[in-house]
Symmetry: C2
Subunit: 331 residues, 2 copies
């Protein structure tokens, strides 16, 4: 039976769904719903294609109360840069929660994922960072380095920011860009220990397979969000960091123990009990412990969840409809 | 980076991708590739939504040598008929095997799945049924009852066919329709034992949760394809049938032992060793045993595989391009 489907391109989505407080609030609400236990979110479907240096991840989540649920395909083809193409692409499909019919196809090349991922970092900072943040430190120089800084600055307006990258030139370039964009002083910082010492919030956004943050650098009042690891071979934080944190939070414990920083901490034995971690949704809903004092060291391990995709896709369809964006296809 | 994406509706796909010998050959080749061991096919992602009487399955497979790979979303919303909508819907996305970019979106509402599923039945009959088939028996009266009969008749031209349904009126109606369509005598048959006794090929296409075929009805030279079970609570064949078959074939053993007839046979203990089963791809490739004599009893357990989706989506895109069907979107 033919029905109408909204088809929306990346260009239109960039116009209609900015990384703003509405997107951050939307992701916050989604995590809170995850804490109610009513969300159905199967494990990530992951297809490793080592012969062609690629991987494909599929995520979904059904959130009772929302009109739709998203199915997201995220291909990572890591030889693409040699072809002049980005490594990460993909699309989201939004299906009706009432009939399962396709409501929308977002040909976003990963844009909505970028937004919902950065928004989760802001949600973590909102609930875990100290109330006053003068300096935000970012490790990495890619898309998420930029977007995490933008999103975090919306919930913790800082006076300045520091950026570290393996490529110092890229760090300088991003610092200049962000200074212009945010209107605060953003500088490149060549020394990771220095960056951590000067920051109250540190966000790691790299695909590193070896720790880039040392446990010795922890200091009172520090909040760290590690969002780079989303595969079983990635690791940004020294495992002892998770053990030494006063407050340890995961977006989804069952996922972080497979794909996140929690995995390394458990595997190395640095952390003995995964139940020391709370879930971000519980912290938001008040059923899990967040920061108890300004001196606490807090760590948030983000691997990216289907509930974020369902939330951002639902938000996007509302905005698309209100602004008459996209194309309607009868299929 | 913007690129071109083919968008194709169900109506266009029905016109361009018929259930014909080309589709059957395409699925046969895909199964043969599966036997080479080079195909990457993760387990089905399945999201059960019992509160709303729904389920969502996602399948994919990467087949080296093909230009693309499909990602298929199959929602089953079983309250839909009360809304005047079909229970099964969905879409397929074809991604480039070189870059991961989206090459095509098939808004097919499950049509390509119908074709590739029926084609697999024909492939099973081609390799397992006796050389001469005078009567094909079908259990069920739904879309697959019809398509399996059409597809099987293409590889085993029969003189007549029999259809059994729980609803005798629907069986009569489908029999009349198929008589007109196939130009052979197709009759409804109220007695399942009679149907099996008169048939050389029997195809079960129901969502039954209890056996509808009894082991006592088996006779020399019989081939059975059971394609109804694709969930862990479904079962069409009495478990002893699998044990008594001379030749037992699965589309994918690792999937059938979770979702197919193989599951019931192993769970009840009727079958002790899953390795008694061969995979359809191996039978096609000659590395697994199919029918050895005209008297053999053969059974094929089909649960539906991602490699079929990748194959039919690749075939579809070729046909769409050659006929200038579909719409090109830049996204």
């Amino acid at each position: 039976m033919a029905h109408d489907i909204k088809l929306v391109t990346e260009t239109e989505l960039r116009r209609v769904v900015p990384l703003d407080l509405e997107a951050i609030d939307c992701i916050e609400t989604a995590f809170a719903k995850l804490a109610t236990g009513k969300v159905v979110m199967p494990p990530v479907m992951s297809m490793a294609l080592p012969d062609i240096n690629a991987e494909v991840d599929v995520k979904t989540a059904f959130v009772p109360g929302l009109d739709g649920f998203a199915l997201k395909v995220s291909p990572g083809f890591f030889n693409n840069p040699s072809l002049g193409l980005p490594s990460l692409n993909g699309l989201m499909v939004l299906l009706s929660a009432r009939t399962g019919l396709v409501d929308a196809v977002f040909l976003d090349n990963g844009y909505l994922t970028d937004v919902r991922t950065a928004a989760a970092g802001a949600v973590a900072a909102r609930h875990l960072a100290p109330a006053t943040v003068s300096t935000i430190g970012v490790l990495g120089t890619g898309v998420q380095a930029k977007l995490q800084l933008i999103a975090t600055a919306k919930v913790r307006p800082a006076r300045n920011a520091l950026i570290w990258g393996r490529d110092a030139g890229k760090a300088e370039q991003l610092a200049d860009e962000m200074t212009a964009l945010l209107g605060i002083e953003v500088k490149a910082c060549a020394d990771r220990a220095d960056l951590v010492a000067q920051s109250q919030v540190v966000i790691t956004t790299t695909p590193s397979k070896e720790p880039i943050l040392d446990a010795d650098w922890l200091h009172e009042g520090l909040h760290i969000t590690a969002m780079g690891s989303d595969q079983e071979d990635k690791n940004e934080l020294h495992p002892s960091i998770l053990a030494r944190a006063d407050v340890l939070v995961c977006d989804r414990i069952s996922q972080c123990e497979l794909l996140g920083e929690l995995r390394s901490a458990l595997e190395t034995g640095a952390l003995e009990d995964k139940n020391r971690a709370a879930e971000l949704g519980n912290v938001i809903a008040g059923t899990g412990n967040g920061r108890q004092s300004e001196d606490d060291i807090t760590v948030c391990d983000l691997t990216g969840t289907g509930v974020q995709d369902t939330a951002i896709a639902t938000l996007a369809l509302g905005k698309v409809r209100r602004t008459n964006a996209g194309t309607t296809v009868t299929a």
